[in-house]
Assembly symmetry: C2
Homo-oligomer: 216 residues x 2
């Protein structure tokens, strides 16, 4: 064997070592496989872990592996239970909108039932919008969004005294204001509590005036 | 030289060939370096190319290389001229908001000066929101956004007859409605022209009533 052939063999050995080392490093990063837990518990863990991580950093920087590590559940179950990482995110949004709806039903009729400056509301809306902007089909969230809008329309009819058609228009308006402010209020000065409170007072006055002077 | 050493040498040769092939492929993908063009022309080409590509696919799937290829300008200039890919995107948003402002100034006072269902408006707002959600500092767009909001406030004072403080609240409301509807109208039924037109009529009536019955 010539010296150069020996060098080649050494080179191949070092290549082999590098590959070995890389795969060892990969294995270390994988979340520890735990003893079996129930699907219900596992799903709740993934939802909690994803929520925590998505609140800590820009949405696009959160990886499926980070979520599995934080949840301490094997990452394969994200695909089995939610279809995909985005499926898990849609579930997070669905649950938050469902709880906004529940809270709306419990609030007194004259209150700002859903506060767009509430961090939970802001998080839910921003995540929904981000998924939509990423090209994810967000239709799965429609039932919760529609239920929320329907409950709002009912409040406008029952408590503000608007007719059905005006209440529908005001629901669209209120949803645009609520969603726009929750997600991007900081861009239009609506993250300032005093200005926001004033804007809400003006909006209430508009609704009162509209109830007393319905469009022909 | 043993047979196995010969095999190793052949193996190294084939590795070398593979690397050569890969780098040839890489070189082919690079945009053709053109004869020098002016910075102004180059910037406009990048802006046009980015706009086209961002309208064709989800924002996150557009790469710096795609933009350079479409613009037919070397991609290094994106960094020299805009600081980064996101810097280029911010510039796209700035120019679109500036042109919305220009169009607002030209519209008759009783018109919907900026239509949230206009594809140009929707594109500008969605891109701005996406950058914000990606954690990009969007403060660079504030001058254009504030100028637009200021012009809107002036219209509310001069043409609708609102007092300064109410006009400020209505500007925030109108911005939230406009931005929310432009970006995510399809989620709240505002992408339907009939419903949207009705909602606009109701909003105008609210403003008229407010002008006649100012908040105390």
């Amino acid at each position: 064997m010539s010296i150069s052939a020996v060098q080649h063999v050494r080179y191949l050995d070092s290549l082999y070592m590098a590959v070995q080392h890389a795969s060892t490093k990969k294995a270390k990063k994988r979340p520890v496989r735990r003893s079996p837990i129930s699907r219900t518990e596992g799903e709740q863990r993934f939802i909690a872990a994803a929520t925590e991580l998505l609140r800590e950093s820009p949405f696009s920087s959160v990886g499926v592996r980070d979520i599995a590590t934080r949840a301490d559940v094997n990452q394969g179950f994200i695909h089995s239970w939610f279809g995909s990482q985005n499926g898990l995110y849609l579930r997070v949004v669905k649950e938050l909108f469902a709880s906004m709806h529940a809270s709306l039903e419990q609030q007194p009729p004259d209150s700002v039932a859903i506060n767009p400056l509430d961090p939970n509301v802001q998080f839910a809306v921003r995540l929904l919008f981000w998924l939509d902007l990423e090209g994810v089909d967000v239709n799965e969230v429609r039932p919760e969004l529609n239920a929320l809008m329907h409950a709002f329309t009912q409040r406008m009819i029952t408590h503000v005294g608007l007719d059905d058609s005006t209440a529908a228009a005001i629901t669209m308006q209120g949803s645009a204001i609520g969603l726009g402010t929750a997600a991007f209020g900081h861009l239009i000065g609506a993250d300032d509590n005093t200005s926001f409170t004033h804007a809400i007072l003006v909006w209430r006055r508009q609704l009162e005036l509209l109830a007393k002077n319905p469009p022909k």
